[in-house]
C-alpha cells in the first residue's frame, strides 16, 4: 500500500534518514521501532509531506506522492497522528474534529457532522467533553482526540507517531485496544512506537530503524522480544560500536526525537 524506497532526509547538514526502504501492507498493522534519534518521526513527517526528502521515492496505492504538499497527502488518504498529539489547545473538542475534516468543510457539511457522530460513538469520552477546550484534557483524552481528529480526514492509512508517549499503563492499553479496533474496521495502521512490548502484540509486521536505516524487517516472533527491546531502546545496531554506557545519554539535541 505504502512503498518507501531509498528515502533520505536531512536537517541542514545532519542526515536523519539515510536511505530507508520500507513497505506497509494494506489491511495490517505495521510497526516501526527504534531508539530515540533514529529518524522515526522524521520518516513520518516526510511521508506526511511536512518535510521534503532529499532522495528516494514514496508511493501510495501505486501513485508517486514524493514531495507532495501535506494537503495533497491527506487527500490521497494518509493521515498522521503526530508525536505529542498536537491538539489545537484553544479550540474545543468539537472544533478540533471539524478542523480535522478541513478539506471537506464547505462542500460536505452534513457528511462531516455524520463523521463526528461516528467518531463520538467510538470515543464516548470525547462526546462528554465536546465543549471542553482541548488544552484542558488529560494526556489520554488528548491522544484520543488526536486519533479522532485524524480519522475525520477519512484515511485509508492511519499513521501514528508514539501514541503511548507519556501515558499511564492503563491508558496505553486503551489506546492499543483502539488501534486494534480501528484496524479490524478496515483502516491500515502504520505505527511508530517506543513501547516495543505493546507494539509487538498488535503488529502484523515490524521494522527496526537505527541511525536512519532499516536494520530489520520481519514478523513478531522472528526476533526475540528481548533483542527487539534492546535494539529499540538502545540502538545496538550493527554500525554502532560505542560502549554501551555511552548510549543511555539524554537524546535531546536539535533533532526531534524518534
Amino acid at each position: 500500500m505504502l512503498e518507501i524506497d531509498g528515502i533520505a532526509a536531512a536537517y541542514g547538514n545532519i542526515e536523519a534518514l539515510r536511505g530507508v526502504d520500507l513497505l506497509v501492507e494494506e489491511g495490517g498493522i505495521t510497526c516501526l521501532l527504534g531508539p530515540n534519534g533514529a529518524g522515526k518521526t522524521t520518516l513520518m513527517m516526510t511521508i506526511a509531506g511536512i518535510l521534503k526528502p532529499r532522495r528516494g521515492t514514496i508511493s501510495f496505492l501505486d501513485r508517486n506522492i514524493t514531495g507532495m504538499t501535506p494537503s495533497g497527502v491527506v487527500r490521497r488518504g494518509i493521515a498522521l497522528v503526530p508525536e505529542n498529539r498536537l491538539v489545537f489547545p484553544d479550540m474545543n473538542v468539537h472544533e478540533n474534529l471539524v478542523a480535522g475534516a478541513y478539506l471537506r468543510l464547505g462542500k460536505r457539511k452534513s457528511q462531516v457532522q455524520q463523521d463526528i457522530d461516528h467518531v463520538f460513538e467510538r470515543f464516548p469520552r470525547l462526546q462528554e467533553r465536546s465543549k471542553q477546550m482541548a488544552g484542558t484534557l488529560s494526556g489520554g483524552e488528548q491522544q484520543m482526540l488526536a486519533v479522532a481528529r485524524a480519522l475525520m480526514a477519512r484515511p485509508k492509512l492511519l499513521m501514528m507517531d508514539e501514541p503511548s508517549l507519556g501515558l499511564a499503563p492503563l491508558v496505553v492499553e486503551e489506546i492499543f485496544r483502539i488501534i486494534s479496533d480501528l484496524n479490524a474496521d478496515g483502516t491500515t495502521i502504520f505505527l511508530v512506537e517506543q513501547n516495543a512490548h505493546m507494539a509487538l502484540q498488535v503488529a502484523d509486521h515490524f521494522f527496526l530503524l537505527e541511525q536512519g536505516q532499516v536494520t530489520f524487517s520481519g514478523k513478531p516472533g522472528q526476533l526475540s522480544e528481548h533483542e527487539v527491546i534492546q535494539r529499540a531502546y538502545l540502538g545496538k545496531g550493527p554500525q554502532r560500536n560505542q560502549p554501551a554506557a555511552d548510549q543511555g545519554r539524554p537524546d535531546r539535541t536539535t533533532l526531534p526525537s524518534g
Binding site: P70, S71, L86, P89, Y102, G139
Partner: protein, 293 residues
C-alpha cells in the same frame, strides 16, 4: 478639572480608541498566526486611505464608499507586504522579516510623501455636523460613527474567525501549525489571507483616522504604528479581546491627558503607560490560558 470634563474626555477617547483597537487587532492577528510582527501594517493602513482619496479625486464618491475603497486598497497592500516580506524571506530568522517590514514601512511612507509632495490631504468626514447634547455633555457624530463602524468590523471579524472555514484554518495555524498542515490546511494560503484580512481592517482604520482628524498626513504613520504596538502589549500579543479592550483604554487614556495636560504632553504619558505594562504586566491585561499535558 471637573467631573463633566473628565467624563467628556474619557468618552471621546473611548470612541476614538476603537480605531486603535482595530490597528491593534491587525498586529495581534498577524502575530497570533505567524508569530511575526508586521511593522509596515500602520503604513499600509494609512496608504490605503490615501488610495481612496486618490480615487475619490477622479470620481465623486459617497464617503462610505471611500471608506470601502480604503479597506480594499489596504488589503491589497497587505497582500503585497506578505509576498515581499514574508513569503520569500526565511521565516526561521526572526530579524529578517522584522527588518524587511521596517524597510517596507519606510518605503510606503516615502511613496506617500512623493505622491503628495508631503502636503496633508483633506479627508471627507462623516456625520461631522451631528452633535448630540445632554446639557454640557455631548457626543460628536463622527466619533459615534467611527465607534459603530469599528464595532461592526469586529463583529464581522469574530464571525469570520469562529464561524467559517477560513476561521478554522486561521485559528488552527495560530495554535498548532504542524497539526494544521496535517489536517490539510495550507500555511501559505492561510498566512496570506490573514494578511489580507488585517489589511481590510487597517484600511478601514486609516480612513476613519483621516475622517476624524480631517486630513491625511504621512506624519500619522509612526504614531499609529507605535500605538498599535502598545495596544498589542497591553492587550497581550495574540489576544483579540485584549486588543479591543486595550485599544479603547489607550484611546481614553491619551484623550484624558490631551484634555488636561495638552497635546504636546499627551504621547509622553502613553509611552510611560507602555513601560508600566511591560514591567508589571508583560503578558497583557489578560494572560492567555496555558495548555496542560
Amino acid at each position: 478639572m471637573d467631573w463633566l470634563d473628565f467624563f467628556q474626555s474619557i468618552t471621546d477617547g473611548l470612541l476614538f480608541g476603537s480605531i486603535y483597537a482595530l490597528i491593534g487587532i491587525g498586529f495581534t492577528l498577524i502575530f497570533g498566526v505567524m508569530h511575526k510582527i508586521n511593522l509596515a501594517y500602520g503604513a499600509a493602513s494609512i496608504a490605503g486611505a490615501y488610495v481612496s482619496i486618490a480615487v475619490a479625486a477622479y470620481v465623486p464618491l459617497p464617503a462610505l464608499v471611500t471608506f470601502l475603497i480604503a479597506a480594499i486598497a489596504s488589503g491589497g497592500i497587505a497582500f503585497l507586504i506578505y509576498l515581499a516580506n514574508f513569503r520569500f524571506i526565511p521565516l526561521a530568522s526572526p530579524l529578517a522579516t522584522l527588518m524587511a517590514t521596517v524597510g517596507m514601512l519606510i518605503l510606503i511612507d516615502e511613496i506617500v510623501v512623493h505622491a503628495t509632495d508631503g502636503m496633508p490631504q483633506p479627508y471627507p468626514a462623516l456625520f461631522a455636523d451631528i452633535y448630540i447634547e445632554w446639557g454640557d455633555f455631548g457626543l460628536r457624530g463622527d466619533l459615534i460613527f467611527i465607534f459603530v463602524l469599528s464595532l461592526i468590523a469586529m463583529v464581522v471579524l469574530m464571525f469570520m474567525l469562529y464561524r467559517t472555514r477560513l476561521g478554522i484554518a486561521t485559528r488552527a495555524v495560530a495554535q498548532q501549525p504542524v497539526a494544521a498542515q496535517l489536517a490539510g490546511i495550507s500555511l501559505d494560503r492561510t498566512n496570506a489571507l490573514t494578511f489580507v484580512i488585517t489589511g481590510l481592517l487597517g484600511g478601514l482604520a486609516g480612513a476613519m483616522i483621516g475622517a476624524s482628524v480631517g486630513v491625511l498626513s504621512p506624519l500619522l504613520v509612526v504614531p499609529i504604528t507605535v500605538k498599535g504596538l502598545i495596544v498589542c502589549v497591553i492587550g497581550g500579543l495574540g489576544s483579540i479581546p485584549g486588543a479591543i479592550i486595550a485599544g479603547l483604554a489607550v484611546g481614553a487614556f491619551e484623550n484624558f491627558f490631551l484634555a488636561f495636560r495638552g497635546v504636546t504632553e499627551r504621547d509622553m504619558y502613553v509611552m510611560l503607560l507602555l513601560f508600566v505594562f511591560l514591567v508589571f504586566r508583560p503578558g497583557g491585561i489578560f494572560s492567555r490560558s496555558v495548555a496542560r499535558d
